[in-house]
Symmetry: C2
Subunit: 348 residues, 2 copies
DNA sequence: TCAAAAGTTGCAATCGATTGCAATTTATTT
DNA sequence: AAATAAATTGCAATCGATTGCAACTTTTGA
């Protein structure tokens, strides 16, 4: 790599100062139009490239937002990222995506790395196994603009973007009950996470409202990956459930495959209900009933809120923490509808 | 945000020079062990954070690799990223992920942005509509370490990591023929891209080897998204095909849904063959035959090669361009197997 | 005891762009 | 024509860490 051209090189050739070049390249109106054009012209000719690093150091801001995801390989994650991008791109923010592979250790490393990189703000969805959240305190100490979304800290005062998980859990369970299900198995994730805890509470409330006694043998916690789900479902079948409410479309799909292999009819013998409205929920057979999870909107809101915070911070105003709740929608499809035909919705 | 602690703050408090602090923090053996410990101790106490930006500026390297993907919302993309990470993490490289949403325009912006950010090297998979590839010349001019993977430039001398797309197309078609298919429809993507072109050539060659005359009415190019695939499949059905070879599992799944809605039996009436071995290929009914696409391995190889290049560049040695071909594997499942039962493979 | 070697530390320049303030030139007004 | 305003440009410091070179201190060896 031959050395990159700098503003000093341009300045020398044009017989002006580096200041002028810098201002010209930034289209500062203080610089004469002709000078500006000459600078741009030469910059183009010589293949000058703005050195973001030097500029960031001087300006003490990076115009970059760090995003910490627990995983990236889901339709939900990519929707969220798309939503974030929709907001950040016109505002000229870059995003730096990290993922913690569901471990607290990597989450910790990611937080550290993002601070070192001096991002202007951070958007986080917690890792599954992030019980000890001490690694976030450096962010609070710094008053770093920070928005949690989806999987959020339960305790701390902070800004959050979430869906109504309780309602989602309630709606799903309520629907299954309406289809005549009485032994509704609930295979779910780590209850330390708000998302699974709240859905579980919604599940319980729906049972209660219909005077169905809660049976703890019908609830099982697992990692919701293929292996663990397979095991959990297989074990659960001994309890003779007449429905599975598994708040993850992927895990629900795994469940359905197991049922199919055992020639169990879905939804007549056992109904299945997922969560997320993932791409695949509309492609598998039977199509999966689920709760639509507006990832794009969540990403949008999170980014919007964060950028507001960043702007306030620059003006040294202080920030009010608040919680934004995004509405969800129940999507009824073949896997759970036993009675009268209802219209199903296409995947959006 | 109160101001961040710098090495100068630490230096002052400890009554040593910033040089010593810097060296201590980097565990430079030239610094006395006791001094080093004192520095680390104070750094921890005061919540010092290394300023990557300043360090990058001085060191003229960012230890960051830029990745330009055409899309990120696929199992393949996340596999590739995981493969890249596996290599970069132990080498202490960060990755900066950008995606071009299949447009040349965004690809161009991404290239520019990554140069401005002074990444040490770039890994690229081309956008679907990236015909004019002039925006890559600044990279060649700079002799920027650069590895293309999957969707690669056909012309330029550069390092590439690809699969044997020809063989994949050949194997798929050959298998369909072995199942008695004679009118094999091929719905595929932009032929300017090596991946679709080579698979098409494989398709043609297989037909030829079995003395089946090539029929251009059975080939249709589209964007392979849901809407375009739906249209293409619907139109294609007028040609009365007895098989679909659609080199994208997602698009093949869309196709299967259409066939199912028309009560067309798969694979007896029409066999379907995909490409990628995506997560969903194993979850849909019937399970989809496909070509396994070792994304993880491709990511790994691309990153490995790139880091080699980066290291050579630092020593001012020059780099030999070469092409790495990763083997693929045919995965036979229910959607295409008409005759004798064959063992199916689980998704890896 | 003194010179050479090894161990520690610091000076000062450097990376490249930005920006407050001042200086200079040009245009406008009276 | 002089005074004032407006437009244009530059000086020099700054952001925070790194590093070649030199200096200083301590240890080692004869």
């Amino acid at each position: 790599m031959q050395k990159e051209i700098t503003i000093y090189d341009l300045a020398e050739r044009l017989g002006v100062s580096a200041t002028t070049v810098s201002r010209a390249l930034n289209d500062n109106p203080r610089i004469n139009k002709k000078t500006r054009e000459k600078v741009h012209q030469l910059a183009k000719e010589l293949g000058y490239r703005h050195n973001t690093i030097a500029a960031n150091l001087r300006k003490q801001q990076t115009k970059t937002i760090g995003v910490i995801l627990h995983e990236v390989n889901s339709y939900f994650a990519t929707s969220v990222l798309a939503g974030i991008e929709k907001v950040t791109t016109p505002e000229n923010f870059d995003i730096l995506i990290t993922h913690s592979a569901e471990t607290a250790e990597r989450e910790k490393a990611n937080v550290k790395n993002l601070i070192n990189k001096r991002v202007d703000g951070i958007i986080v969805s917690l890792a599954m196994h992030s019980h000890d959240t001490a690694h976030f305190t450096p962010l609070f100490e710094r008053e770093m603009p920070l928005v949690f979304f989806d999987r959020v800290l339960q305790s701390a005062d902070c800004t959050k973007v979430v869906i109504d998980n309780f309602q989602g859990g309630y709606d799903a369970t309520n629907h299954l009950i309406s289809q005549g299900c009485k032994r509704i198995a609930h295979i779910t994730g780590d209850m330390d996470l708000n998302v699974y805890m709240d859905r579980f509470k919604g599940y319980q409330k729906a049972l209660k409202d219909h005077k169905i006694k809660f049976n703890k043998d019908l609830v099982k916690v697992c990692g919701l990956n293929k292996a663990e789900t397979t095991q959990a479902v297989t074990e659960m079948l001994e309890q003779k459930p007449d429905a599975f409410f598994i708040p993850s479309d992927f895990a629900a799909a795994v469940c359905m495959e197991i049922l199919r292999n055992k020639d169990i009819n879905i939804p007549q013998d056992i109904a299945v209900f997922g969560f997320n409205n993932d791409m695949l929920s509309d492609l598998i057979t039977p199509k999966l009933s689920t709760i639509d999870y507006p990832g794009f909107l969540m990403g949008e809101m999170a980014a919007k809120t964060l950028i507001e915070q960043i702007k306030l911070r620059r003006k040294n105003k202080n920030v009010k923490d608040h919680t934004i709740v995004i509405p969800t929608e129940i999507i009824l499809r073949e896997s759970s509808v036993r009675k009268k035909a209802k219209t199903t919705r296409p995947h959006k």
